[in-house]
């Protein structure tokens, strides 16, 4: 049995349609006839309009943040302007590179990750290394792998091809294990976890590498490494980097910035660094 409240009578349907300017063809005459019989119902129409105005006034307070509005407008800028702006940023970043004499330089990028992207991806990458139950025992049982080299070899079987990932164990990292996981938006990603070896400057710090087949959904291109910048302070100290090469996406995550940078170099990440 239906709730009677959900079934408008002809009178209420007509009056509300009038208040909403939603009268169907021919209903104007019916409304006029009704109001001639029930002139008080004009006040009902007015009430309905005022109620709508009151709701609109009460619930329309949220304004889009100015920074977001600017990004939206930048998205709509003519492609040529966007290209010039990107070139300008790259030029500025290159100048910084020369001046500082450092390996990496940064630039800005007008692109964006899809919805489940930035906020979700940041949260995943920042928390997953701590939450996942990786251990040597589990890795051995599940993959018959107990060393980093074996893990690299097994990636070819798991992902259908062999990704290019450099050796990290001679840079002061110890293999902790590997596991299957799904980086948001992907069916299968492989997580390799390492930890800073005793005596290294990042002793005990976790380092996570994720590898997955690229499906083109990440707004990145080959030839650059991207730093994923958290918008929230909570994850501001976590180094999160990604790059794409020959059909694979690679992610490097560590709460120790130095460990992350060393891992990037050892893993073979492109030297050009862009912000995402």
């Amino acid at each position: 049995m239906k709730n009677p409240d959900s079934l408008p009578s002809e009178r209420s349907r007509l009056l509300r349609a009038a208040a909403d300017d939603e009268l169907l063809a021919g209903e104007r005459a019916a409304l006029d006839a009704h109001l001639a019989r029930r002139p008080d119902d004009r006040a009902v129409i007015e009430f309905e309009r005022k109620l709508r105005d009151g709701l609109a006034h009460s619930f329309s307070g949220s304004q889009v943040p100015a920074a977001l509005e600017q990004r939206i407008r930048a998205l709509g800028a003519p492609p040529r302007h966007r290209l010039l702006r990107r070139i300008a940023w790259l030029a500025a970043a290159a100048a910084l590179l020369v001046a500082a004499g450092i390996t990496y330089h940064s630039a800005t990028r007008a692109d964006e990750i899809g919805f489940y992207g930035r906020a979700t991806l940041v949260r995943f990458l920042a928390t997953h290394p701590h939450d996942c139950p990786i251990s040597i025992e589990r890795t051995l049982a599940e993959f018959n792998v107990e060393a980093y080299d074996d893990a690299l070899s097994s990636l070819g079987n798991l992902l259908g091809d062999a990704p290019a990932l450099g050796d990290l164990t001679d840079a002061g990292f110890e293999f902790r294990g590997m596991g299957r996981c799904g980086i948001p938006g992907h069916e299968l990603s492989i997580h390799i976890q390492l930890v800073g070896a005793a005596g290294s400057t990042f002793e005990g710090d976790k380092l996570s590498i994720y590898v997955q087949r690229d499906d083109g959904r990440l707004p990145i291109t080959d030839g650059a490494t991207y730093r994923l910048q958290p918008k929230t302070l909570r994850f501001a100290d976590v180094g999160m980097y990604l790059w794409r090469r020959e059909g694979f996406d690679y992610f490097v995550v560590s709460e120790n910035p130095e460990a992350a940078i060393i891992a990037l170099r050892r893993a073979g990440a492109p030297a050009e660094l862009l912000m995402l």
């Binding site: 709730n3 009677p4 409240d5 959900s6 079934l7 408008p8 009578s9 009178r11 209420s12 349907r13 009056l15 509300r16 909403d20 939603e22 009704h34 019989r37 029930r38 008080d40 006040a43 009902v44 007015e46 009430f47 309905e48 005022k50 109620l51 709508r52 009151g54 709701l55 609109a56 006034h57 009460s58 619930f59 329309s60 307070g61 949220s62 304004q63 889009v64 943040p65 977001l68 509005e69 990004r71 939206i72 407008r73 998205l75 709509g76 964006e112 899809g114 919805f115 489940y116 992207g117 930035r118 906020a119 979700t120 949260r123 995943f124 939450d131 799904g182 948001p184 069916e187 918008k231």
Partner: protein, 198 residues
């Protein structure tokens, strides 16, 4: 449609898209990501070229893209498991069920107290229809298009929502005064209607 004109119309709707995204996601950062994703999709040349304001104007079209994007995110989150666990709150994540979580911790602080209470008491489906109608000024067929539900469902939900909100407000003389209403202006709340129907 000409790109410049499309851009002008689309960016003019960014507040409506943001409000809707905020209600759906209940999180400012996610709402921002959703809005940016919507405009990234909307401003692709092929989308502009193929733009057809089916079921309403560009606002309805953008809100429909917003809702579809949100549902896609929910679908992905089912696979991803933990990422949006708090968003799903253990619910089944069907469109209405997702909106049902709004009542729990949506920020109502800026909303007039009496309307806030009245609207919060609505079921999720009716509330979303009511706000798209009242705040975003969508017509019935546009709401149907945005939420992908029959227009009859829109009308019955809207009727139910208005009746219940009116009924709650009418029990509060202060609300009647605040809204500039006179007691004689009886709304079409369910309980009174039967007695007055012609």
């Amino acid at each position: 449609m000409d790109r410049t004109r499309f851009l002008e119309l689309a960016t003019a709707e960014v507040n409506a898209v943001y409000r809707f995204a905020l209600r759906l996601t209940r999180d400012a950062h996610r709402a921002e990501d959703l809005v940016q994703d919507v405009y990234t999709q909307a401003l692709r040349p092929e989308r502009i070229a193929a733009f057809e304001p089916r079921g309403g104007g560009i606002r309805a079209w953008l809100l429909r893209v917003t809702y579809r994007s949100f549902l896609s995110m929910i679908e992905r989150s089912r696979r991803d498991g933990a990422i949006f666990r708090e968003l799903l709150d253990g619910d089944d994540a069907a469109p209405e069920a997702v909106s049902a979580t709004l009542a729990a911790d949506f920020d109502w602080e800026s909303v007039d107290g009496r309307l806030k209470v009245a609207v919060a008491h609505l079921d999720a489906g009716s509330r979303e229809v009511l706000l798209l109608w009242a705040v975003e000024h969508l017509q019935y067929h546009e709401i149907a298009s945005v939420l992908d539900i029959p227009i009859g469902t829109v009308m019955s939900r809207l009727h139910r929502a208005r009746s219940r909100v009116s009924k709650e407000l009418l029990t509060d003389p202060g609300a009647i005064e605040d809204l500039g209403l006179r007691p004689a202006q009886s709304p079409l709340s369910g309980s009174r209607e039967g007695k007055r129907s012609s």
